[in-house]
């Protein structure tokens, strides 16, 4: 009951946050974003046609009228139609978000799970050869551009210069076999690039925990290494790890992965968002910004609740 009350209270206090984020974003969109008018006009437009388009885009409305309209859209979840494609924004998001989730989730999960395992091993052998080897690998992963990693995996696994088993592009998923066929190479690229960053971060957390008195006591008591790492170290290091993972979720859901989607020809939300930013497609941007803000508030609440679950000493007030 306390948890529910806490969640509701946080939800209410999240409203100013959403308002603040949407307001600042909207100011940026209106005053600093691209002017869509001149992308929509024909080759030989007249001033009257330009004025017509500006009016249809709502550019001639006062700022606060437009912002009020945005808030109404946020409440009703009706963002109208994309200025570029003419497709209903809600349809675009419901079509592309699941694709991005299916695309990035395996890499996200594997990238974090493997990183935690590697960080535990590195932390346990801190300063030794294994630790240095893992950290060197992490630095290599962090140092190589994501683009190079993508192209490298494509060449190795998907081209006639490599084993040519997997597709370079596409997303024709009708079965588990199809899914594995299309998701494998993108997943490997995501894992490769995320492993370095995640491992370094988690190792720092684990090492800090390893130096605590209770771990030293457990070691002195003769607790086996695996049990020590998972029960005494990982559990107590879980809060920063969970924080990092949880706050990555809104970005995974909404942003997808632009480079992965572009290079693998996958119709996800990352590409849609990127195109909307670069072309000033405000209906899509408004929806994405609003959804991201709301998701962050929900994530914030979920994270707090998880703290309580993991560490009963945490009180939700």
């Amino acid at each position: 009951m306390d948890t529910l009350q806490y969640a509701l209270r946080k939800l209410v206090t999240g409203i100013p946050l959403v308002l603040g984020v949407t307001f600042i974003s909207f100011v940026l969109m209106v005053y600093f974003g691209p002017d869509k008018t001149y992308e929509l006009i024909g080759k030989n437009a007249t001033p009257e046609q330009i004025a017509e388009i500006r009016s249809q885009l709502g550019y001639d409305e006062p700022f606060f009228v437009r912002y009020a309209d945005y808030l109404r859209q946020l409440v009703t979840l009706e963002f109208g139609y994309s200025d570029s494609t003419g497709e209903r924004v809600s349809r675009i998001l419901t079509r592309t978000i699941p694709v991005s989730l299916a695309l990035t989730l395996p890499g996200f999960v594997l990238g974090n799970v493997l990183a935690v395992v590697l960080a535990l091993v590195a932390g346990f052998y801190r300063g030794g050869l294994i630790d240095r080897a893992i950290m060197a690998g992490a630095v290599v992963g962090m140092s190589i551009s994501f683009l190079i990693i993508i192209i490298g995996f494509q060449v190795l696994l998907s081209s006639s210069y490599g084993i040519n088993y997997f597709p370079v592009r596409g997303w024709e998923v009708y079965s588990l076999a199809d899914y594995l066929y299309y998701v494998t190479v993108p997943t490997l690229a995501i894992v490769f690039v995320s492993l370095g960053y995640n491992t370094r971060f988690y190792r720092a957390v684990i090492v800090e925990e390893m130096n605590r008195d209770h771990v030293r006591t457990a070691r002195a008591f003769g607790t086996p290494p695996i049990k020590l790492l998972f029960r005494n170290v990982l559990r107590n290091a879980a809060i920063p790890i969970i924080t990092r993972i949880m706050f990555s979720i809104p970005l995974v859901v909404i942003s997808g992965s632009l480079l992965i989607e572009s290079y693998f020809g996958i119709p996800g939300v990352g590409k849609v968002t990127y195109d909307a930013i670069t072309t000033g497609d405000q209906p899509i941007l408004k929806a994405v910004v609003g959804a991201t803000a709301v998701l962050f508030v929900l994530t914030l609440i979920a994270t707090d609740v998880m703290y309580k679950v993991i560490d009963p000493r945490v009180s939700l007030k």
Partner: protein
């Protein structure tokens, strides 16, 4: 026995790699037809993606490409004839034109149908009739459709502009745009418009059904309901999947009439389609791939896209020679290839609105400005631009009449496209310009590494001429829309631009310098030469012929002599496609029309 299908192999490898399920069943789309014959799939690639498939908003080449396959047009171009030649498409014949050139009567073929779609009663596509054409053109003049093609007919068709001003009520007739009966159209013009028939072969004139517009509204842009050879089954920014329209008219291909030349087209296997009715493939997939590395990997994997233009970074490894363009034996053995000059050109314009650079009330200053512009043009090296950014295979030509149009003059002096640095410096000195008095000029470009490099090369030439570097300022724009806004509101002094021809008639490029088309129209330099304008108006009502060509060429020379722009070059593209594909690709004037004729050999490996 091991199945060598890459999809299955990939799935198996993936399954092992991630220790998931053993023996996952293969899925995917069916690879055979209902009768068991192999499905014929042609997988095309393009270097950009369409955003909107509504004919009224099909200005971008990528949109136009798909629109021409989903929607029918009255006219199209002969598949293989070059120079490009119009031919009837949905129209029975070429238009019947009155003696005064003002009334066009066009008869439609009977029995051509829209795709089956829930927009129609019982989901059955009905026959295309003349009223559909009238409705489709009217849509361009309905402000809520944000038409990008209205300019083609603006001020040309009797009563159409007035119809818009009166509120765009579709129940109201337009005097100059009528369906005489179900299969006859009459168009009355305000004044002769010889390019009218060309406009009826553009995606903008694709014929839509009113029922579909009423059902899908703005989402017609992603849900095309047309009567073209294909039906769009699926569309995203990554890919379009099209299947044949079963209601499309059955018209056997007459290769001879399409301009087949055995010496040019003999190796492409086109005889296989002669006498048969298109479309020939069971599925047409178009991948939109902007990333060249990804497109190249997909093409050379030999199991995905079957067509690509050769990316600049691969040109040196693919070409055997640049003049003339040939591909090396190894690539020619592996793939079909073709090269061709684009239907368009690139140029750098000077904004004549600027009194320190263009027109000036003081004739002496204006003459001095002209000397400056001419010196800048003469200091520019097209040869280096071509070599550095276009692999040295572009076609440099003087003026604004591109090599692809019949009015092109190959004998015109190339002095205006040849670098004369010493002459340019002398011109500056003679006109009294010094590094101190030279104006500070702003060069605009879209924010991308390529355009930045192009700007720096331009600035380098000007620096050699005598401009201090600080006096040629670059101004970047995050999007093309913002760049276009700066041009259309006359903010820039100089800008690099490209123009894709809408039809193979030099009028389409000459109008870029016609005074009344000044910004926000297409005359970006804001060139205003009464003599040019008078010739343009005179030529605009003339039918093609030597007399009109003479006028076109005079106008071309005016643009060169007045140093309004540094122009020009048509880029050359090299295309590769798999040997099991039967077809001759073209993305220029013919554009998407050629996909109607594409076929794929099945059974056995590629040749």
């Amino acid at each position: 026995m091991l199945n060598r299908n890459p999809r299955t192999l990939g799935a198996v490898a993936a399954s092992i790699a991630i220790a998931l399920l053993a023996g996952c069943g293969g899925g995917g789309q069916p690879q055979t037809n209902a009768d068991g014959t192999p499905l014929k799939v042609y997988r095309h690639s393009m270097d950009g993606a369409p955003v909107n498939l509504d004919p009224v908003q099909s200005a971008v080449v990528y949109s136009n490409f798909v629109v021409l396959n989903a929607y029918d047009t009255l006219y199209s171009y002969k598949y293989l004839a070059r120079p490009y030649e119009l031919k009837p498409n949905l129209a029975k014949g070429m238009p019947e034109v009155s003696e005064d050139g003002l009334t066009y009567t066009i008869h439609l073929k009977e029995g051509s149908g829209f795709i089956d779609d829930p927009a129609f009663p019982d989901g059955k596509g009905r026959e295309v009739v003349a009223q559909d054409f009238v409705y489709s053109i009217k849509r361009h003049f309905d402000p809520k459709n944000r038409s990008q093609g209205a300019w083609l007919w603006q001020g040309r068709i009797v009563g159409l502009d007035q119809w818009k001003d009166d509120g765009a009520d579709y129940s109201q007739d337009v005097e100059g745009l009528k369906a005489l009966d179900d299969h006859s159209i009459q168009i009355k013009l305000v004044k002769p418009y010889p390019q009218l028939t060309y406009t009826l072969a553009m995606g903008f004139s694709g014929i839509v059904a009113q029922e579909a517009v009423e059902k899908y509204g703005r989402e017609l842009s992603i849900h095309p309901v047309g009567s073209g050879p294909y039906k769009v089954e699926r569309f995203s920014t990554a890919k379009a999947v099209l299947v044949p329209n079963p209601n499309f008219r059955q018209e056997p291909v007459d290769l001879a009439a399409e301009g087949f030349d055995p010496a040019v087209h003999g190796d492409y296997g086109l005889d296989a389609i002669d006498g048969k009715a298109p479309p020939f493939v069971d599925r047409l997939e178009i991948d939109f791939i902007t990333e060249t590395a990804s497109r190249w990997a997909s093409f050379t994997s030999d199991k995905e896209v079957q067509f690509t233009s050769v990316p600049v970074e691969q040109i040196d490894s693919v070409l055997g020679s640049k003049q003339p363009v040939t591909v090396s034996d190894a690539w020619a053995k592996r793939y079909h290839w073709k090269s061709g000059v684009e239907a368009g050109f690139i140029y750098t314009y000077f904004n004549m609105d600027k009194p320190y650079f263009g027109y000036n009330d003081d004739p002496a200053i204006e003459a001095k400005n002209k000397a400056l512009r001419c010196a800048m043009r003469d200091a520019f090296s097209w040869a280096e631009r071509n070599e550095r950014f276009y692999s040295g295979i572009g076609t440099v030509f003087p003026g604004i009449i591109a090599p692809v149009v019949p009015e092109f003059d190959p004998s015109l002096s190339e002095a205006s496209v040849t670098q004369h640095m010493e002459k340019a410096k002398q011109q500056l000195r003679d006109a009294g310009w010094t590094p101190e008095t030279l104006p500070e000029l702003t060069y605009g470009y879209s924010s991308a590494v390529f355009y930045r490099q192009v700007f720096e090369q331009f600035r380098g030439f000007m620096n050699q001429l005598g401009f201090p570097l600080a006096k040629i300022q670059g101004r970047t724009f995050a999007t093309f829309g913002d760049f276009n806004k700066a041009i259309k509101t006359s903010q820039l002094d100089i800008g690099g631009l490209g123009w894709g021809l809408d039809y193979p008639d030099a009028e389409n490029t000459l109008q870029l310098f016609y005074g009344p088309n000044r910004t926000p129209g297409s005359n970006n330099p804001n060139y205003a030469n009464p003599e040019f304008d008078a010739l343009f108006e005179q030529a605009s009502t003339m039918q093609p012929g030597p007399e009109r060509t003479e006028l076109y060429r005079k106008m071309n020379e005016m643009v060169i002599d007045d140093c309004v722009a540094i122009t020009g070059m048509s880029r050359n593209k090299v295309y590769l496609w798999h040997k099991n594909v039967v077809g001759v690709p073209d993305r220029e004037i013919l554009g998407g029309f050629w996909l109607k004729y594409v076929d794929v050999k099945t059974g056995g490996s590629e040749e």
